[in-house]
Symmetry: C2
Subunit: 283 residues, 2 copies
């Protein structure tokens, strides 16, 4: 039996209402498609933690700060649906842009402070687009629990705070980053890397690991840790480190002295592809 | 039997979940208390249109742009609960500020464009506070339908657009303004008017009616209609017209030529009290 692909909001609401009446626990994995092993891990968590699993596939224009990134974002719906089917998903929600934005959207959900640094500094409007579309998806799907990857650490922190501030009544589950054998974090954007760029892309993870080792070896000065990490990125015309920062894991504010758990997060340009990754260090 | 006053979010969610399972239609009237005949009308509409009626009473600090207005806002909880009881309300939700804002809120719901003019121009942040708290209340209460007075026309337009943009899945019912015998729109702030100010406060409604008559008599130039209306406000040191504008009834944009339905809305300061009112004119 093939998985149902719901094309309308009304169909998803009807499905959800039925499960609400029956008391089934609904798990939700929101995605932009181009599913990889990281998404599969999210779906597996949802499958274990819920009675019914719904996956959304929607490339949300609101969260792209660069037009070329939106245009080049990989779209692989047929393959995505097969992956969902193989993983036992109960419903795939694949709305059109007209379903999600039938008129010019005037309403925006914004989370301040948490979005000031890291990616927020370099991607104006990105997290407003994320918070707004995730609110919409939560309202349409009405899940009991929603699953997000820890690779997008700032997104996860933004969504946790949004849910708590707005009383959205959804449990948010963070799922550890899935990595390639060499350590590269799984990302839909990895397919854009050329065969020359692919090995170079590992530099970001190596820099994060160097930061982690420095802290484990006793370095408590966050700026010194950041310098150690940045020095790991080789001088290569194809690589440009956008940021690499040590921040607190909840509100993502820059830390000066490391005296508790910290998030070490970075963004690296590899040619025309922007990759992000992070590690949490705990004492 | 006295009406239950729920003091916690958890209690409201449990009440709502019970009615969701039973399939009861839940009607919601969000208020800031100091209930008057206008609120009673909202509750009567909810009583007729729903199986279960919940009224919230919460003076939301986020939507006050002036500290003195927040401090002077009338608070009459005991009387409000008695009114709810008399009107057959099933649950009163009266949260504390700590219930609604346990930590510094970082997440804001914003509606642009519709909030640029009218009250939005003079009350910075007001409609962000309204949209944010109404989203929170909708998430907590989970109503099928919510009732708002047409007296707060801009608030109603903002909430309608927010619900549609964010897929909140709540029907929004606008209820006509209730007026005193002489025509003054019911408002919680009317109690602040002195006996000298009270008759003067009627000037705003008289100005709106003059605008309506001018349009009915064939005037199609919106600026001319606004001038006719403004001229009705007597030269009196206690009165200051903040705005009186002719706008389209959906996105509340200034209209130049009247060729369809319009909203005529104004704000008048009477001493230290700011009153608003509006009329919709339809061809």
């Amino acid at each position: 039996m093939s998985v149902e692909v719901a094309g309308t909001i009304a169909r998803v609401r009807a499905w959800r209402d039925g499960h609400r009446r029956s008391g089934a626990r609904v798990g939700f994995v929101p995605t932009m498609g181009a599913l990889h092993a990281g998404h599969a891990r999210l779906i597996e968590h949802a499958r274990r933690g819920s009675d019914q699993v719904i996956v959304s596939i929607f490339v949300n224009p609101l969260q792209f700060d660069r037009k070329d990134d939106l245009e080049r974002y990989p779209r692989t719906l047929d393959a995505d649906v097969r992956i969902c089917e193989d993983l036992g998903v109960d419903l795939v929600f694949a709305p059109s842009i007209a379903d999600m934005y039938p008129v010019e959207p005037l309403c925006t959900v914004t989370v301040k402070k948490i979005t000031d640094g890291l990616c927020g500094r370099f991607r104006p409007g990105h997290f407003d687009g994320v918070a707004t579309v995730v609110t919409k998806l939560f309202e349409i799907v009405g899940p009991d629990v929603a699953y997000f990857g820890e690779k997008d650490a700032q997104q996860l922190a933004v969504i946790r705070r949004m849910v708590s501030d707005l009383n959205l009544g959804v449990d948010i589950a963070g799922v550890p980053t899935v990595r390639e054998v060499d350590g590269l974090a799984m990302s839909s954007r990895n397919v854009r890397l050329s065969s020359e760029e692919r090995p170079k892309a590992l530099a970001l993870y190596q820099a994060l690991r160097a930061a982690e080792r420095a802290i484990a070896n006793g370095e408590r000065n966050a700026r010194a840790v950041e310098r150690v990490a940045a020095a790991v990125i080789p001088p290569d015309g194809a690589l440009r480190l956008e940021y690499l920062e040590v921040v607190d894991p909840f509100e993502l504010q820059r830390v000066d002295t490391i005296d508790g758990a910290v998030l070490i997060a970075g963004a690296l340009w590899v040619g025309n592809t922007r990759l992000i990754d992070n590690i949490t260090w705990e004492p």
